[in-house]
């Protein structure tokens, strides 16, 4: 079927019919010493003919950088619009409101695709617009493998939206129904999701307001022995609000969210049913970072159970400068108490604001930036400062009272006379008593925090040559903190074990860093530095050299066994070039450093080719609020080509 569509559309172009079209090509190839090579090529073709529009995306990837190998039409869609009606068939990508119910994206960089293959019907008349869509969606998630997805959630869905716009006011109603086959580590869950939403907005001269609410009900279809039905129900809701205020050239953005779909203690979230589903791509309320080091310390947003607020102020300063400042505070909706090791009890946080108690996994983030142009717009610069603190795990969290049991044992002696003989009998008597109530605290959590300072500068000469320098410096801490007068929970006597049983007032605070140095010794702080140098000739070419360095390991120690000439050149290692360096034994100073060089050429204004050689550090990569761990790229070559026509 797909081949036929491609053939018909290609034939139509070549036959010179009244089609108009545009296309783009993205081709990339990579090979590194880890023996993972990839070749990823995509052709996007858009066709326009009167009221008909069509889109085809062909992919040849064997294998792609991330995802599954493919040599086929990956996406297609045909649209027909006439008068007030629109019909779309194929791969549909729509969004409603701010995405609390429905927001579809195809993000190649994180391999997240929640598009629906099906049918879309739309009708508009004046301020009224109605839409319906239905079809099937396959959403893939990663498991342990960083390149190939493992879990698949399959949705058979339909949804409806109605929106009415009147002057500067909009009001919308949404409804989504999905039958999901949810793949788990072991087996599958069959879940029915029903979502209903409402949103509204008003735009004024000096203010905008947007509010959205969604109500969600999920039912898991399950059966016990002998097929006895055992359906379970879970309810949830989400609220998002956005108020923007403007005064002159200053703008203040305020956002609030409260997502209550599913909850669990610590960083635990049930992988069963009733969670937020893959269509719900909701606002994060964290800054969309655009520097490498800040991008690596992004908070792992929990769309099932998180509330928070974000403030962002932007405006001009004297001397042509611009200021951007941002603050966000998020937390779960509950605080948690670990009554035992496995028994946790929650307490809802009162009011609207996020909590600061460690058991509610709070997160704070702030960022300030000053940027501007100078020297007749030839100079561009940007200074930033980002700071965050995140409680990412809670291992135990008890704060209460208990009594200690006191066991007293004694022997009771008795005598018995029997036909003139005296017998002595003894009995062990156990007496149980309790001490008075005393305070017990046993807490342990994991906390990460960082301070990052990005700096960027570029100067362009009138002959078109420009020089750019980027520098980022980061101090990062990651530590387990334990505090209290008790450590573990003792199941045998159902109590928390005091560190000093004779003195409940003996409290301790212990910090254990999770970073280790080259000798596997724990170090308090990880220092990260990234330097980028770029030199370019406008519209022709650019050369970029990147040096990334980290002082400590976050996890197991990794050794780079390969030493390449670019690294030797950047490190100023003369021995490498004089033949005095054993290339099979890279020097210590080359470890935990990643160097790469990239040359890009503009073949024409719409064609670009680039070649990269070197290494790129792996780690967290975030885009559109979706984060994934990127595998490192070690001592290899990347080649990419892109064109639009």
């Amino acid at each position: 079927m797909k081949e036929k569509i491609l053939l018909i559309l290609t034939a139509a172009i070549l036959s010179g019919a009244d089609f108009d079209y545009n296309a783009s090509i993205v081709a990339s190839y990579g090979d590194n010493y880890d023996f993972y090579s990839y070749s990823e090529n995509r052709l996007d073709l858009n066709l326009f003919y009167n009221n008909i529009q069509a889109w085809i995306q062909y992919e040849y990837s064997n294998p792609p950088e991330i995802g599954f190998p493919l040599n086929d039409i990956r996406k297609f869609r045909v649209e027909y619009a006439r008068d007030n009606f629109t019909i779309k068939v194929g791969d549909i990508y729509e969004y409603w409101g701010r995405g609390l119910v429905f927001n579809q994206i195809d993000d190649q960089t994180t391999n997240y695709d929640n598009g629906t293959r099906g049918l879309f019907l739309g009708y508009t008349n004046g301020g009224l617009s109605l839409s319906h869509l239905n079809g099937n969606t396959e959403i893939w998630f990663f498991g342990n493998d960083l390149r190939t997805p493992y879990f698949n959630n399959s949705h058979s869905m339909y949804g409806n939206q109605a929106q009415y716009d009147w002057n500067n006011i909009s009001l919308g109603l949404t409804q989504l129904h999905s039958n999901e086959t949810h793949q788990k580590y072991f087996g599958e869950a069959y879940v029915n999701h029903k979502l209903k939403g409402i949103y509204g907005s008003i735009m004024l001269d000096n203010a905008d307001l947007f509010v959205e609410y969604v109500d969600k009900k999920s039912t898991e279809k399950a059966s016990l022995f002998q097929g006895i039905p055992h359906d379970t129900l879970k309810n949830g809701y989400g609220v998002y609000g956005n108020l923007n205020l403007y005064l002159g050239s200053w703008g203040l953005t305020t956002e609030y969210k409260r997502y209550v779909f599913d909850s669990g203690h610590g960083d635990f979230t049930a992988d069963e049913y009733g969670n937020r589903i893959g269509f719900q791509m909701m606002p994060t309320l964290g800054r969309e970072q655009n520097t490498t080091l800040l991008g690596r310390v992004v908070h792992p947003y929990n769309f099932n159970d998180e509330r928070g607020l974000q403030l962002s102020l932007t405006g001009p300063l004297p001397l042509g400068l611009n200021l951007l400042t941002q603050y966000a505070h998020l937390s779960r909706n509950d605080t948690w108490q670990s009554l035992t090791t496995i028994d946790w009890k929650n307490k809802h946080i009162d009011g609207l604001l996020p909590g600061s108690d460690e058991s509610s996994l709070p997160y704070w983030e702030n960022y300030q930036e000053i940027s501007g142009f100078g020297l007749d717009d030839k100079l561009y610069f940007r200074f930033g400062r980002g700071n965050n603190k995140d409680i990412i795990k809670v291992f135990r969290f008890f704060d209460g009272q208990q009594r200690s049991m006191i066991l007293t044992e004694s022997w009771n002696y008795d005598t018995t006379e029997y036909y003139g003989y005296i017998y002595v009998d003894s009995t062990l008597v156990t007496d149980t008593s309790f001490t008075a109530l005393f305070d017990v605290e046993s807490k342990m959590w994991q906390e990460v925090g960082s301070n990052t300072y990005p700096f960027e500068f570029s100067y362009t000469h009138k002959n078109g040559y420009s020089l750019g320098i980027g520098f980022e410096y980061q101090e990062r801490k990651k530590r387990n903190i334990s505090r209290g007068n008790a450590t573990f929970y003792n199941g045998s006597d159902s109590s928390w074990s005091l560190i000093n049983p004779d003195n409940p007032d003996s409290f301790y605070v212990n910090y254990e860093s999770q970073f280790t140095d080259w000798n596997s010794e724990r170090v308090k702080t990880q220092f990260n530095r990234m330097v980028t140098l770029s030199f370019s000739k406008a519209s022709k070419w650019s050369l970029t050299i990147n040096h990334d360095q980290s002082s400590a390991f976050d996890g197991p120690k990794t050794i780079d066994p390969y030493y390449n000439p670019l690294e030797a050149l950047i490190f100023g290692d003369i021995k490498y070039f004089t033949g005095d360096r054993d290339r099979s034994a890279p020097p210590r100073f080359g470890q935990q450093r990643w160097v790469s060089a990239e040359v890009a050429f503009n073949l024409s204004s719409s064609q670009r080719i680039s070649i990269m050689y070197g290494s790129i550090q792996g780690g967290l990569y975030c885009s559109n609020g979706i984060c994934r761990q990127i595998a490192p790229f070690n001592d290899g070559v990347k080649l990419s080509y892109s064109a639009i026509f």
């Binding site: 296309a23 889109w55 403007y246 200053w250 791509m281 561009y380 406008a538 519209s539 719409s606 639009i644």
Partner: protein
């Protein structure tokens, strides 16, 4: 590797073929939603004169650099009927900050919203920034991907050529 080289060569051939045949291509009349909440279409914006379309996002660093220059050109050539249309690709997750950002910079160009990249996909603007210069009759005259500092000279050259304000002949982008 062999397949990859063949693919690259094929891409080159196709795109060079397309470049030769680029003149005369008409931009489709797509509906767009503006930052002020109103709806219009690309052909509607072309009624007064040529249009420069650029795709951007609040997190895109090179986009922000070129925006300043595009705003300058929008204001400098508006009497010639020229306009700049900046199509924003922030997702619904971060779209709340777009208006504040534009107000903060005091930009005067037209800003449209494309939160799930419908317009960008139809005009091949997924790489940011992507510039498309359209003549008043809808003909696409020039396309450009990416931004290197200094390229604003070429951008202005293309605008002035289209408006008939250039006394020099030929493009600076050889």
């Amino acid at each position: 590797m062999k397949i990859y080289i063949i693919t690259i060569l094929l891409c080159f051939s196709v795109s060079l073929f397309a470049k030769e045949n680029e003149t005369g291509r008409v931009i489709p009349d797509l509906k767009i939603k503006l930052l002020n909440g109103k709806t219009t279409s690309i052909h509607e914006l072309l009624k007064d004169g040529p249009l420069m379309i650029d795709f951007w996002a609040t997190w895109c660093k090179p986009c922000k650099k070129v925006m300043k220059h595009l705003d300058t050109y929008h204001q400098a050539y508006k009497e010639n009927g020229f306009k700049v249309l900046m199509i924003n690709q922030d997702t619904p997750r971060s779209i709340g900050k777009v208006k504040s950002y534009i107000r903060g910079k005091n930009h005067q160009f037209i800003v449209a919203l494309d939160p799930n990249q419908k317009i960008a996909k139809k005009l091949n603007g997924l790489v940011m920034p992507t510039l498309i210069l359209v003549d008043q009759d809808g003909t696409i005259k020039w396309r450009h991907q990416g931004y290197m500092p200094g390229e604003e000279v070429e951008i202005e050259h293309q605008i002035k050529t289209l408006l008939g304000l250039n006394t020099e002949s030929g493009s600076k982008d050889s």
